[in-house]
């Protein structure tokens, strides 16, 4: 495999255990270069543990994580030259002023772009003077993103970047991300709850539930095969024709969420209502209460 074909991130059979509790259970996934991979999961599903392992901050109980073909635990320091990270919580030293934070990072990163950092701060409406600890949660995330992007990373990793942000801050953060993707084609791996936000930018989606990766697929293919079908009465051969994630009564009839809908199925369209599903609806069907993906 040539260097250009080496995936940005490659996770093999990764498990993380805390005492007797297995929070990540033999997960394998690959993030190709120039792709945007969104890892979705409910609170406590194991996303953050997986991310910590992926960036070499935590050693997995078993399994292997490679970034650009290199073992991330052993080569973390050199790999971080090529990676920008936005942590779940603003983790920069609270007493440092925003401008000093940029100065500090500039001395550690060889491809630091101070002008881009200043420009982004201006767009976010954040001054250089305030201490990082005095910023609001949204501002901290914005500064963290500006710091991560100013290092001109090849690979951007974001752990729930919109958690706790208001609608305006969320929109501004995603706009910045979209601009970065348009400008430089950076590979992105992010975990999020904000399904609406990533629906327009993600190429591939993984869903983690109870520590297991229950879904890992291109977003377009995923959306093509999931459908909500509503019948006036219960069809006789529903389960034999489709794989169903859920079947439940709906008004006087039946509603089914099918996971292998392909083609036009014109004969069904005459007797039933076929509704495309949003990523959020698919996520709930796959990872929600009583899901059977």
């Amino acid at each position: 495999m040539s260097q250009a074909e080496t995936p940005a991130l490659s996770i093999h059979e990764l498990s993380v255990r805390y005492g007797r509790s297995e929070v990540v259970d033999r997960i394998s996934l690959t993030v190709p270069r120039n792709a945007v991979y969104a890892l979705l999961g409910r609170n406590g599903a194991g996303k953050s543990s997986l991310v910590r392992c992926a960036i070499g901050q935590q050693r997995a109980t078993s399994g292997r994580v490679e970034m650009f073909g290199m073992d991330v635990w052993r080569h973390r320091a050199s790999l971080m030259e090529r990676v920008g990270i936005v942590a779940e919580e603003g983790d920069a030293p609270a007493e440092m002023r925003v401008g000093r934070l940029a100065d500090f990072c500039a001395r550690l990163c060889s491809r630091w772009d101070r002008a881009a950092f200043d420009e982004r701060l201006k767009r976010f409406g954040i001054a250089q003077k305030p201490r990082f600890g005095d910023l609001s949660k949204g501002q901290k995330k914005q500064v963290s993103l500006a710091l991560a992007l100013a290092a001109s990373p090849e690979f951007l990793i974001l752990d729930d970047p919109t958690l706790g942000l208001d609608a305006v801050a969320r929109k501004s953060l995603f706009e910045e991300l979209i601009a970065e993707l348009a400008d430089r084609g950076t590979t992105v791996f992010l975990t999020t709850h904000d399904l609406a936000g990533i629906e327009s930018i993600a190429d591939r989606v993984g869903v983690i539930s109870g520590g297991r990766l229950v879904l890992d697929e291109d977003l377009e293919l995923l959306k093509a095969r999931f459908r909500r079908i509503r019948f006036a009465s219960r069809p006789v051969a529903l389960e034999s024709r489709f794989d169903t994630a859920a079947v439940r009564p709906w008004g006087g009839g039946t509603e089914a969420i099918v996971t292998n809908f392909a083609g036009s199925h014109a004969e069904i369209a005459e007797t039933a209502e076929i509704v495309p599903m949003s990523l959020e609806e698919i996520f709930i069907a796959v990872a929600g209460e009583g899901a059977a993906a």
């Binding site: 050693r59 320091a77 990270i85 609270a94």
Partner: protein, 463 residues
Amino acid sequence: MKHLLVIAQRDLEERIPVFIAAAAAAALPFAVPLFPAAASFTTKDVITMSGVIVAATFTLLLSFALGVTLIGRDLSEKRMSFYFSKPLAPSTIWFGKLMAAVITIALSFVIVFLPMYVVSPGTWGPGARLEVGLSNLFPACLALLLAGHALSTMFRSRSRLVVLDLLLACAAFYSFGLMQRALHQGFAFDLMQSFRQVLAGVVLLILTGCGLWQLERGRADRLRNHMALSRSLWTSIAIVFILAGGFVAWVVHPSIKDLREPRVFQAPRGSWALITGQARNRGDYRAWFLYDAATAKSIRLKRTTLFHDFWFSRDGKMFGYLQADAPDRDFELVIMPLRDRAEPIATGLTIRHGGRYAISDDGSRVIVFDDRQIASVYDLESRKSIATVRLPESGLVRAFFVNRDRVRIYVQNMPLSSLPVAEKSITAYELDVRTKSLQKLGDYRTEAQAIDMTPGKAGVGFR
């Protein structure tokens, strides 16, 4: 190296309030002479004394505070991930932060100490031993810095593992105490000091190495940092203490051939002698041996005390000595028949520090004098007191058993205030154990500077 300096500089920038506090502390010694209580000393002396106290206290407290916040605060506030998301090796983070802490401590000390030192240079004569104080202060600061870091990592993890840490720390201190005691029993005070210094140095190196190891293994996670620190710390300390224990065991087990410049105390009769001296290659460790010239066999005595606390029977067939865990504790009387393969017999009889005793030639009875002039005779087999009398006068007491039932007691009056030319006297008594009666036999007076009494077969010879 460049990144290490970046980390150090970042931490130093954060410490500007510490330097301001140090400057404020530097002004304190100059305010102390204004207090009425300081009026009886010269202003310079007051400034110097209070300056040293303020500088030392400030630096020591600062060292511990910096240790507590060195890594532990970032870990508990989940900020360590910031450093690990940068191209920084754990060694760069650890040594960068450590370097900043050491510079902060040194600079703060200079800020507090220098104004006072400049203002009162005359008080720093050779007797002030400033260099000694400083040479002890900085290792103490480093120890507090690293200990503060280790404690902070352990307690901030909020893990029950900290209980195990405390138990292991107690075990380490106990082991250290045992090793010190073993050397103390051989009066190896210089060796003890060197041993302490080397061990402290090694423990500081271990703490430094373990700080690096905890970041290498635990990275941004506080629980994993704690686990990595505890594992490496206690494993390293166990290895070092095993080696140190081996060294101490070697020191306290010299052979009689290892003694340099031995002193020999021959039994009044027979072939046995007590031989003592400092052991070769073991610093000032002193060992005691009972040596039989007839067979060239020697027995090493453990836990012995000072020279005057041993005793040979007049027929040279019984030996007695006091043993204690440490020379300043209460002693237990031990007797030992002088024959081949004889073992010491602990009598269970405790003699207080400074107490005198004498054993009957057959080793069956002992008379013990306490500091209240009370003489008690014990039967060693039954461990019971069989006669107790109060001596009519106080003084230096020597005694010997004439036979099992009669004890000759000599009390030497030697008032300390009139030394060395005043008249000294020795009064002789005889205690009948069966009737429990004390009879005065007579006095001996002299103006000699000192009197030496040597119990012989018929009585006591005076010199």
